[in-house]
Symmetry: C2
Subunit: 416 residues, 2 copies
C-alpha cells in the first residue's frame, strides 16, 4: 500500500503531463470511461450490492442514517445519468489552452494570457458513489490531477469506479494513469490537508460540518461553501401572487438544497403580510417568527420570518446573518432592486425569481464543480472554469529590459 | 488605542459602503490625496526626517542595514513619483462594476457576471514609506478596504501618510474613512493573520522570509511569491550574441529584483558554451557551476550554471527547482519553444527575451499589486484586476425552478 504522500508526489508528476494534453486526448479518456462502464455494468452493481449489505448492518446498528443508506444505492437510472454526464462533458469546449487575451508590448514582443489547469486537487466527498465518476471526469476534462477521498461506506463501488478510470487512462495514449487516485480512510483526510507542497486546491463535497472542518484544518485554498443561509426580501411593492409562488418554490421544491431559502424578510409596509404567512403555512411551511438565531440552515420546510423597516434594513440583515450564497429581492421598485444588487455582498444576488436558480447547470455552465462562497478565485456556482488558472506566454525577438529603462525603446501596449 | 480586531470590524463595515462606490467617487478620493500631499509637503519631509534620525541610530548600532536605511529616505523625486502614480491610477478604468458577460437563461431571466471588490485586505510591507500611498491608492481605486502594517522604522512617515489618506476620505462625500487603516507593531502581524473572519486576502510586500512566514501562519489566502528562482535555458539553436545580451540583462540590470535570472541551463549541444561563460564573467557575473543547491535566490550578480542534455531536461529542472515565477527559453527551434511554453509550469513563460519583462507595468496593466506564484485566483504579475472578484446578478420576472424541473419551461442559455 502506497503512502498518501507518495500518491500525491506521483500525482504532481502526472500533472506535468496532463496539464498540456489537448482536448481530443482528454475526450478520448472520457469516452474510454464510458466504454468500460458499459462493459463492467454487472460488476459495478455487484460491488455496490456489497456496500449496501454492509451499510444495512450499520443502518440497523444505528451507525448511519436512512438518507445516507439511500444515497449509497446505485441503480440503472443513476448509471445512465453518469454516462449522460460524461457525454455532455465531452461536448464542452476545452477550458484550458484558451487565449484569454493577446497584447503587443512592443513590436516583436507579444504577450498572451492563456488558461491552464491548476495542479493536483484534493476532493473529499461523502457517501454518493456516483460522485467519483462525476468529479474524476471534471478533473480529466480540465487537465488537472486529483486525489479523491470517498466515504468508507462506498468503498467497493468507489474502488471499481477508480479501477475503471485508471484502466481508461492507461488505454489513452499520452495520458498518465497516476492522474486520478482514490484514498479511503478517515486518517487520510488529515494527511491530505497537510500536503500543501503537492496540492493546490481542496474541494469538499458534503455536509456543512465536513466543509467547516476542512476550512479550519488546512492552508491549501478550499473551494466550497460551509453553509447556505439564503434570503428572500419581500419589498413593499412586491406582487402578492408572484411572491407567494417564488417563496414556495424556494422553500419547498428541494428543501435540503443549499440554495433553498432559510429566512424571509418582509417590508413592514407590504400590505398582505398576514395573508402571506397563512398561505405559506397552507403550503406545508412552518414559520418561525423572530427566531433567536438567524444563521440556521434548516434544510427542511421551515422558514424564519422577520419584518423589517425597509430595503436597507433587509440588506443589513443579509450582510450580517447571511452566508454570502444567494439572496433574492421581490420588488417592482427599480431603485430598491438596484440598491439590493449593489449592496448585498453575496455571490448570487437575484431579483424576482427563486433562490433555487443559483446552480451551475441552470446558469448554463454545462457542468458544476460546486458552489463557492469564497471571495477569491471562484465565487458562486463554479463551472469548469473554476478548475483553471492561467499563465502568461511572452514571445520575444531578443528583447532586453535595459533598452526600455534607458528610453531607447518604448512600450506600445496595444491590444491585439 | 483601538484593538486590531475593532479596526478590522470597522473596516468590514466600511467595505459594505466602498464596494458599491462609482469610479468618480473613488477618483475624487485619489485627487483629494494628491491635493493634501502637496499642501503638507514640508510636514511629510519633517516626519520622514524624524524616522531617518531614529534609523541612523539603529544603523550605527547595527540593528538595521544600509539598504534599509536608504530605502527609508523620501525625497522630492520620490514624492513626485507618488503623485504621478496617483494621477495615472485616476486615468485607469474602474476595475469593478464591469459586466464580464451577460446571458439569457430563458426569456425574462437574465444573468450578468459583474466584477466586484473582494473585501478587507491585509497588507504587510517593509521599510519603504512610499509603499503606503501606493497600496492605499490601489485599494481605494478597486473599492476594497485595507489594514496596512508598515515597518516600525517608518512609523512617522507612514502616520502622516495615513492621516492624509483619512483626511482625503473624509473630504470625499459618500466615502467611509475606516476604509484605510494603519497598524504598527510586530505583534499586530500575528493578530492580523488570525482575523479570517474579517479579512479576505493578505498581500505581503517585502522580503522572502516575511512572505514565507505569512504563508505559513495564516488560513487567509495570500497573494504573493516567497521566492523568484528564475531560469534561462539556452537551446542548441540559440543565437550567441542575442543569448549573451539577454542573460546579461536578466542578471545585471537589477540583480535584486525577483524576476532576475538565478540559474542558466545550457543545452550540451550549444556550440559556444565556454565562450558564453567567459563573456558573462567579463560582464561582472560570478558563475557557480553545478552548485549543491539550485533553489537559491542570489539577488546579486551570481549565476548558477548547469549543462543539460536537451529541452526536456531543462523543463524538468525548472519544474523541480524553480519557484513558478518566470522562465525563458532562448531558441530558434519552434518545436522546442512550443514544448517549453506548454510544459514549464510557471506563471510567466518567455521565449527569446529577458526574464526582467515579467512585471505589471511592462505587461501594460497600468499598476502592479504584486507578482503571484499562486495557482488560484491571480498568477504572475497582478494588476488591479487581482483585487477584484465577481458576483452574479440574476434579473428575473417571477420565475420558479419547478417549471423547469417539470419540463413546462426549458432554458435557452443564450449569450447576449
Amino acid at each position: 500500500m502506497e503512502t498518501i504522500e507518495n500518491i500525491a508526489k506521483n500525482a504532481k508528476s502526472a500533472f506535468l503531463v496532463t496539464m498540456s494534453l489537448d482536448n481530443e486526448t482528454k475526450n478520448k479518456a472520457l469516452s474510454n470511461i464510458i466504454t468500460i462502464i458499459k462493459e463492467k455494468e454487472s460488476e459495478i452493481f455487484e460491488s455496490n450490492k456489497k456496500d449496501l449489505i454492509e451499510a444495512k448492518k450499520l443502518l440497523e446498528e444505528g451507525k448511519i442514517n436512512k438518507p445516507t443508506y439511500d444515497r449509497l444505492k446505485l441503480d440503472k437510472n443513476k448509471l445512465q445519468g453518469l454516462i449522460q454526464g460524461l457525454e455532455d462533458l465531452i461536448k464542452l469546449k476545452d477550458p484550458t489552452n484558451q487565449v484569454l487575451w493577446e497584447k503587443e508590448l512592443d513590436k516583436g514582443l507579444i504577450l498572451k494570457k492563456v488558461s491552464t489547469p491548476i495542479g493536483v486537487i484534493g476532493v473529499i466527498f461523502e457517501s454518493r458513489p456516483d460522485c467519483f465518476i462525476q468529479i474524476a471526469s471534471l478533473i480529466i476534462k480540465s487537465g488537472n490531477c486529483a486525489i479523491l477521498k470517498g466515504g468508507s461506506e462506498a468503498i467497493n463501488t468507489n474502488s471499481i469506479f477508480c479501477d475503471i478510470v485508471t484502466c481508461a487512462l492507461e488505454k489513452t495514449p499520452g495520458f498518465d494513469k497516476n492522474a486520478i487516485n482514490l484514498v479511503y480512510s478517515r486518517e487520510d483526510i488529515k494527511k491530505l490537508l497537510d500536503l500543501d507542497e503537492y496540492l493546490s486546491l481542496i474541494i469538499p463535497r458534503g455536509s456543512n460540518s465536513l466543509v467547516k472542518f476542512i476550512k479550519e484544518n488546512t492552508k491549501i485554498p478550499v473551494l466550497g461553501h460551509a453553509s447556505g443561509i439564503c434570503h428572500i426580501f419581500v419589498d413593499r411593492t412586491a406582487d402578492y401572487n408572484s411572491a407567494l409562488n417564488i417563496i414556495v418554490d424556494a422553500k419547498t421544491q428541494y428543501p435540503s438544497a443549499c440554495n433553498a431559502v432559510e429566512t424571509l424578510l418582509i417590508d413592514k409596509e407590504f400590505d398582505r403580510i398576514d395573508d402571506l404567512e397563512s398561505d405559506l403555512i397552507k403550503h406545508g411551511i412552518k414559520i418561525i417568527k423572530n427566531p433567536d438565531n438567524y444563521s440556521i440552515e434548516y434544510g427542511d420546510k421551515i422558514l424564519a420570518l422577520k419584518i423589517v423597516d425597509n430595503v436597507d434594513c433587509a440588506i443589513n440583515h443579509i450582510n450580517k446573518y447571511g452566508s454570502g450564497h444567494t439572496d433574492s429581492i421581490l420588488s417592482n421598485d427599480k431603485n430598491n432592486i438596484e440598491r439590493f444588487f449593489n449592496l448585498v455582498d453575496s455571490s448570487s444576488v437575484l431579483s424576482n425569481c427563486s433562490t433555487r436558480f443559483s446552480d451551475g447547470f441552470r446558469y448554463g455552465f454545462g457542468a458544476e464543480v460546486g458552489i463557492s462562497t469564497n471571495k477569491t478565485h471562484a465565487r458562486g456556482p463554479v463551472g469548469l472554469e473554476g478548475l483553471t488558472i492561467y499563465k502568461y506566454k511572452l514571445i520575444g525577438s531578443n528583447n532586453i529590459v535595459l533598452d526600455y529603462v534607458e528610453g531607447k525603446k518604448t512600450f506600445t501596449h496595444r491590444d491585439l
